[in-house]
Symmetry: C2
Subunit: 314 residues, 2 copies
């Protein structure tokens, strides 16, 4: 089971009634934040999921509406008592951006690891300190895809692997001693009495996980349908709702609602959540039909909209 | 006549019900902003005084709660159509801070002049493009004073000079031709028919102006009473309201309400406005008496509290 909260649904600049587009994922109490505009930490405070357990921050790109809140949030996370390292993932240039913004937050009580422009999937485990990189038991994969904006920009997919069931008959037939059953299931390979036991000796078949994708600040690209394919939830920018704003969308490297819905179709996703609305579009609901006529299961984003995504037959 | 708006009254981090402490001065339609934390531009939008006419931004110090909103605001000012240069004044290090933060707002349609750690009063005029540095007709003086915080920090005083009355008898007795009267009064010295005429040849005695001071993120210092002396409005931090928080105030280089009120007394100011409240102090009104028992004319700051300060007998 994964909870997500859309912290804001605005693009370009923070507005009194709409926080900037950002997403918070909550899996087993640990958090991943995607984007951090001016005010994101205030929306997080209203949400009430806490600051200390934010282990990873993914930044789509360096524009201010996705980054300005970073130094303030990093300070607030510091004030929350965090000392475990925190990972920031972002496109080409993210190291310079974090360095620049941290001119006003140079001292933090925890380390920051930066992963710039990851070309391979990032495989994550969860331990007592939170989400860990390169853990033995992978529970979560983050993939990034370069997209088409006026600055280097990444879309992200998050895949929560579902733990296989413990298979007693398999454990017995593989002659795995009972004392290592629990460790094999929860922490990985174990050596016992000179024999190496691996998790596959006690675990059943792979089970379907949860996939969610966030695509913002880009035109539709050729790679996107494959990247978002069969997502349980596809969060996509719809900077403009109206058909007549297509020229503006092309010029500013954004999408209209119809294009987001077409992507949802071609990616065979289960659900589309629209976000990153232009400040001039005060009522995105007015344009819902422009998306709904193409892809049925669509929701117009709202600040702090929460969704729970369950594993199949959970 | 000068209007001021307290854009926020919080310290440390932005909260859902309290914007970070920042001040906007509005004189003849031109604006000076003091400090720019995360969300300051949102409070400005709620206030509705516009973005294009912000000519000067004074920064007290580099801590995030006074600076994080800068890159977002500079972008929003750019979107408002401003092309006239904008001046940022700040303590030692402000150039590096602005440079760092502008990593996410590198392209702006206007120039930024930075005045780092000004030792002399900054004399400003007002022309059609806004507040200008080094204009001939000075209308506004900004003074900065180094104060005592955990980072280089400045307090600011703003003195609005009141234009002297035009004195016809003086103009006539000085044999100033009528054709230059208006220019002498409004733009400064004029040469006419080979003779240089200066404003003092047509203007009456100096008249009392308006002085306002803002002192934040500091302990009381020896120089402060002289610096704020006889202010019409003294805006001062009161991070903590309670007497028992004095140790915390000393440690964190802030003030309790009583200390702000004592400064107001020793500076013979007309009115004290308290701001920069700690996030843990939810009801600063509860501690009003701690200030009021020492200095009578005190107001507890509120977001977007507006005051109009008039010239004497205006």
């Amino acid at each position: 089971m994964l909870d997500i909260a859309l912290l804001g649904c605005g693009g370009s600049m923070p507005m009194p009634e709409r926080y900037l587009s950002a997403l918070l994922l909550n899996y087993r109490g640990r958090k991943i934040l995607v984007d951090c505009g001016e005010g994101t930490q205030v929306s997080m405070r209203l949400l009430g999921w806490g600051f200390k357990t934010i282990d990873v921050i993914c930044i789509s790109h360096g524009h201010g509406d996705h980054t300005v809140g970073l130094p303030g949030l990093l300070s607030t996370i510091g004030n929350s008592g965090r000392i475990a390292p925190l990972t920031i993932i972002g496109p080409e240039g993210i190291t310079e951006i974090v360095k620049g913004l941290r001119v006003v937050a140079p001292y933090l009580p925890y380390e920051i690891n930066i992963i710039e422009n990851p070309l391979e999937p990032i495989k994550l485990g969860i331990n007592v300190d939170g989400i860990e990189l390169n853990g033995e038991l992978v529970e979560l994969d983050i993939r990034a895809l370069k997209v088409d904006h006026s600055a280097p920009c990444l879309s992200y997919s998050f895949y929560i692997r579902r733990r296989p069931r413990f298979d007693i008959s398999k454990a017995i037939s593989n002659k795995v001693p009972k004392v290592v059953w629990n460790m094999l299931q929860k922490t990985g390979a174990v050596e016992h009495a000179g024999v190496l036991y691996t998790p596959d000796m006690v675990l059943g078949d792979e089970r379907q996980g949860i996939k969610i994708c966030i695509v913002t600040d880009t035109r539709p690209t050729e790679e996107l349908p494959g990247f978002i394919r069969e997502s349980d939830l596809f969060i996509c920018e719809g900077t403009y709702g109206a058909e007549e704003d297509l020229d503006k969308a092309v010029k500013n490297k954004h999408m209209i609602f119809r294009e987001a819905a077409e992507l949802a179709c071609s990616g065979y996703v289960k659900e589309l959540l629209l976000t990153h609305f232009s400040p001039v579009m005060q009522n995105p609901e007015h344009y819902l039909l422009n998306a709904e006529s193409i892809f049925k299961n669509v929701t117009i984003g709202k600040d702090r909209l929460i969704k729970t995504i369950r594993f199949k037959s959970e």
